[in-house]
Amino acid sequence: MANYKESMSAFIDDEINEIETHRVLRLIAKEKNDIESYGVGTGDQKSLITSFLTFMSIRTSMSQQSYSRRISVEEHEALFHRISSAIEKEPTAHVLSLSVSSRRPVIGFAVAASLLLVVSLVALNIRNSESVEVVGGDNVDPIEVGSEVEPELRDLDADRQKYLRQYLNEHDRIMRTKRASQLVTNPK
């Protein structure tokens, strides 16, 4: 479950590859199918849609520009359901004549398509009309000048910050000093 949540978090952050994207969408579609067919989700997947909506809301809040309107969890959910319903209500004669079990793949496809549409709409809302986004330049994390502690590390206590800084400094030092030479040609 933790892996799925991690994948979903990465998905929302645009850090996921294509295969994982399809896996996450398939899982969400399956959950929605289960809820529709049996009234409840199965096992650990019960909260996937909730997690998706929560992550989406967090991502939207964090990336929101001052002039654009925020979308709440409820609004994400309402949008998700409206699009799902609209797709399912499309008059398709051969689907109506099929049994519940044989309709599942079609519903799954419809849900996956609606999710893609939701993601696209939200992504458009997040990125607004600019073609280039500067990370760290929004209202949530104000730019700090000459600060001694990186905001990303502030939640850690002093010992842990010191520990991580040693790694960061060593990485910087090695990369800078070894840039012109010292490549190992035959790695062991």
Partner: protein, 305 residues
């Protein structure tokens, strides 16, 4: 007709690619061999640093002084591969992750970067930065496993006047000179390189001549294509570079203080993971996307000799 258009496009692409590589080649030499003084701003994540840089190339050696103009007064001095950082106010060594406010890329390795199949190089016209004429170059990764760069190089000296490090269309780091003077001969003594001063006031540098290389105790079974290992003396550290980006893997066998963390400081990703079956920890630090860092952390394994 279609063949002719394809041929013209192909020729145009290769000319642009060759020009970009020639400019990058010049930049590599300029970064080391030009004498320059300037002030630049460096934005990483939510932090902005401004610093004055004085760089002198003398008798085949590089001398550089970087004076931080924001926050705690810190001075970073460098002689070739030796670096010292001094906090002038607290009389302490610098502790923050800002030792290398290197223009463009701290890991830039001319020879390695220019023979790279993982990036596309292209020219994008001219621009004006810090009152100087610049050519624009874009370095685009072929796959999503690393970041890209936009560079504005000084037409006169080849030095980078501005750089942006980006992932898709998101800019993660920005470097820009606001003023730059080139070709000026500097007094080495004024940069703080008198031998007595170095030995009494500064610390932190490790002469490379003393380094002995040990066998690594760990290895990574997966790396993005084009990354090569960098020689270091510690067996529980692994460092790699593709000529533009760098990444480091630190392995702690002892019980670790740190929780599992996934974060990034500008373009520098930092991930910690438990070492499988132990209380130790793996930390991956590098100018790479989070997804790439995750895969590397998951692939760390012990070497059995």
């Amino acid at each position: 007709m279609r063949t002719l258009i394809s041929m013209l496009l192909w020729i145009g692409f290769n000319v642009s690619n060759a020009d970009a590589l020639r400019w990058l080649d010049d930049m590599g030499a300029a970064l080391r061999e030009q004498n320059y003084v300037g002030t630049f701003t460096y934005m990483r994540g939510s932090l902005i640093e401004t610093a004055r840089v004085e760089h002198q190339f003398l008798n085949g050696r590089e001398f550089e002084r970087l004076t931080h103009l924001n926050g705690e007064p810190r001075v970073v001095t460098r002689r070739d591969n030796e670096i010292w950082c001094n906090n002038l106010k607290a009389e302490l060594n610098c502790s923050n992750h800002n030792l290398s406010l290197a223009p463009f890329s701290a890991a830039f390795n001319k020879k390695h970067a220019l023979n790279h199949e993982q990036y596309r190089f292209s020219m994008h016209g001219r621009d004006r930065i810090a009152g100087r004429s610049a050519v624009k170059i874009k370095i685009t990764p072929r796959f999503g496993d690393r970041f890209g760069y936009r560079l504005w190089l000084d037409e006169e000296s080849g030095l980078p006047l501005q750089s942006q490090l980006f992932q898709r269309n998101r800019i993660l780091e920005v470097f820009q000179f606001s003023s730059l003077e080139t070709g000026k001969q500097l007094e080495i003594g004024n940069l703080g390189f008198l031998e007595d001063d170095i030995s009494s006031n500064l610390s932190g540098g490790e002469p490379e001549e003393d380094e002995t290389v040990g066998n690594p105790s760990w290895r990574v079974s997966w790396l993005p294509k084009g990354f090569k290992p960098v020689r270091v003396k510690e067996s529980d550290r692994l460092h790699f570079t593709d000529g533009l980006a760098g990444l480091s893997v630190f392995v702690e066998r002892k019980r670790s203080l740190l929780p599992e963390i996934t974060t990034h400081l500008g373009a520098t990703t930092l991930i910690t993971r438990r070492l499988s079956g132990t209380q130790g920890q793996i930390t991956v630090v590098g100018e790479i996307p989070i997804d790439t860092a995750r895969k590397i952390a998951d692939s760390v394994e012990r070497v059995v000799y």
